[in-house]
């Protein structure tokens, strides 16, 4: 098997893992992401005042969000996976179409997910979410 075939398989596997976690997230279930994350995970998003370190701290951050999120549909734009051995860096822009009783809005994100193969399983070791600049 050539390296490029191998990389294409890794790319598809990583994107499928991310989509499965995003699907759960959009239904108010944040635990897809914590199940996919390694104990050592580090994490930034627009709501944090400093880096979140470790799976326990991430679980605490997500607990108040359980059942609160309702994303009708999302668009994962232009996903790219940079594979280097047992590391795969997934990046994409995301549009969340949020539809709740009190909120109907679209949110645009820059997304970074660093996956590492640990004991044969792909796990997220770093996440960074930020808002996309919309100047146009």
């Amino acid at each position: 098997m050539s390296n490029s075939t191998n990389d294409a398989e890794i790319e598809a596997a990583i994107i499928a893992l991310e989509r499965a976690a995003l699907d759960r997230w959009g239904k108010g279930d944040p635990w897809g992401f914590t199940e996919l994350s390694a104990d050592e995970v580090t994490y930034f998003d627009t709501g944090t005042e400093h880096r979140v370190d470790g799976i326990q701290e991430l679980r605490r951050l997500y607990t108040p969000r359980e059942g609160k999120i309702k994303i009708e549909r999302y668009d994962m734009l232009n996903p790219k996976v940079q594979v280097h051995g047992d590391t795969a860096v997934l990046t994409f822009n995301l549009i969340d179409h949020i539809r709740t009783a009190i909120e109907q809005t679209d949110e645009r994100w820059n997304a970074t997910e660093v996956y590492c193969r640990i004991d044969g399983k792909w796990k997220i070791i770093h996440t960074h979410w930020s808002y996309t600049n919309i100047s146009s």
Copy 2:
């Protein structure tokens, strides 16, 4: 040499590379970062409307900033390096103390730099800059 000693050396090397690029950036020289980045680099920051792909696109983004930046001092807060083989994920919070004729402000950042050892040299393959949330 134990793995942990080795990782500590990698950690120190990665932070030194990042600081050298930040030092140049603060003096109006953005090219420290492009010299440190691999051809394949992917890039997000608060000013981009979508992911920047590749060193040429990053050079185009940085060209208008040459000579425009003046950061008197910066604080790299709580840097962490997650080493997995030839990959090292550097994360930190950054405070830029900006002092120009027209601007005196502090900017607070979440910073992600994914380094890979390529042909024996550590290179950035992904960068993500976003503003830290300041609720307090």
